[in-house]
């Protein structure tokens, strides 16, 4: 039997990227979360001997998503026709960005989401939050630059010459 600790690690590492991966197919967060949950439970029940739990789970999620789409006579979205590894990398990058958005200061995050997800204008956001338009613009610019900055692989380099 797989240890609880093993499973918790799988959740910690894979739950968010797997959900984002499923959202690409299902375009629905609740459905995606449920499906990933079911897959992880199925993985625990079966405890299959596989060399990589990660690739096993990604293909299980993918197969179940495709099944659901077929059942509802929806074709697999065209943009999902990309190599498996590319899709996995993309989901991991998305999970990283999701966490970065979550960690933004509250006001900055609210401004960003209202503008980019809800499509509100700076003026509307300013009114709703009771701050100036200028502040809204600042929040969004800072949020975007910190999100973009984070996506570069960072490294420290201190060189001196002898």
């Amino acid at each position: 039997m797989l240890s609880v600790n093993h499973i918790e690690n799988l959740y910690r590492l894979l739950f968010r990227p797997l959900c984002l991966y499923a959202i690409h197919f299902l375009e629905d967060m609740d459905e995606a979360e449920d499906l990933v949950q079911e897959c992880l439970i199925a993985y625990w029940e079966k405890a299959p001997e596989v060399s990589s739990a990660k690739s096993y789970l990604y293909s299980m999620v993918r197969n179940r998503c495709v099944d659901i789409l077929r059942k509802n006579s929806v074709s697999v979205p065209l943009q999902e026709d990309i190599p498996e590894q590319e899709a996995i990398d993309r989901s991991e990058e998305e999970a990283r960005l999701w966490t970065a958005v979550e960690r933004l200061p509250e006001q900055r995050r609210k401004c960003l989401i209202m503008a980019k997800r809800d499509g509100l204008s700076y003026k509307e956001i300013a009114e709703q939050l009771g701050i100036s338009e200028h502040t809204v613009r600042n929040h969004i610019n800072r949020a975007l630059s910190s999100l973009r900055g984070g996506s570069d692989k960072s490294f420290n380099l201190v060189l001196s010459f002898f």
Partner: protein, 250 residues
């Protein structure tokens, strides 16, 4: 485009693995209850005793790093960093300072002079009081690198060697042999190579071993002070070094 996708779906607090894991425990906990159901007619006290016994017998707790390097804190405060594929097991209730391991692991052992910390692998036994050291264990060999403090390393045949900070040894065919220490034996765990006026040859030998690529070492007595992330491709690191020290690394 990736960012826009995330923002389109973003809801604060959602896609939280902790919540999901709670759901998992609930779902599988139900299962356990179902398994116990046939015994429900027995006295509750007996059930509890049985449960405690099982619990004690299976109290090996296992920590495994899957696809990435991971750090765990054991019950006694010792930190263990595991390379992908490495595992340590510990009987937390019975003997919290005795772990068995396989693969590659870095231990930062919590100080407790009364209770030595013992690591056993299929080929060796390492005993320490409070120190930082790493073990790389594979089919035939065990390598021990001590970063701080000192350890007593023994092979299963009883051959033993004492290692101090900065020393490394290799166990092969039941014998320990000292190794020329490399500047960053734990780079795989710390994620960085740190060089403080290290002879270029030592730097290049370490990088060559880490990346598994041959590097021709130029004849020079130049030294390097630099810090690189292990995420960087080797070519990029070599590019910086050749720029910094004005040497040709091809």
């Amino acid at each position: 485009m990736t960012l826009q996708f995330v923002l389109n779906h973003f809801v604060y607090g959602r896609l939280d693995y902790r919540q999901a894991f709670k759901g998992f425990l609930k779902a599988t906990g139900l299962k356990r209850k179902i398994n116990w159901y046939p015994y429900a007619s027995a006295a509750a006290a007996i059930l509890i005793v049985v449960f405690l016994l099982c619990h004690n017998h299976n109290s090996w707790k296992e920590y495994t790093a899957y696809d990435i390097t991971q750090t765990f804190t054991l019950a006694d405060g010792t930190q263990v960093t595991l390379a992908p594929g490495a595992t340590v097991s510990v009987q937390e209730h019975r003997n919290p300072r005795h772990v068995s391991m396989s693969g590659q692991a870095l231990f930062t052992v919590a100080k407790d002079p009364e209770h030595p910390f013992v690591v056993t692998s299929p080929q060796s036994r390492i005993e320490v009081l409070g120190t930082v050291f790493s073990i790389t264990e594979s089919d035939k060999i065990t390598r021990v690198d001590v970063t701080e403090g000192h350890v007593m390393a023994s092979a299963l045949n009883g051959n033993s060697t004492e290692l101090h900070a900065g020393e490394s040894a290799l166990l092969s065919d039941g014998f320990w042999s000292p190794l020329t220490p490399s500047p960053n034996p734990t780079a795989w765990a710390t994620g960085s190579f740190v060089y403080d006026a290290v002879p270029l040859a030592d730097v290049l030998n370490e990088l060559s071993a880490y990346y598994g690529k041959d590097i021709i070492v130029p004849d020079t007595d130049k030294r390097l002070t630099a810090e690189f992330s292990t995420d960087m491709p080797l070519d990029e690191i070599l590019g910086f070094i050749s720029l910094a020290l004005n040497v040709d690394l091809k």
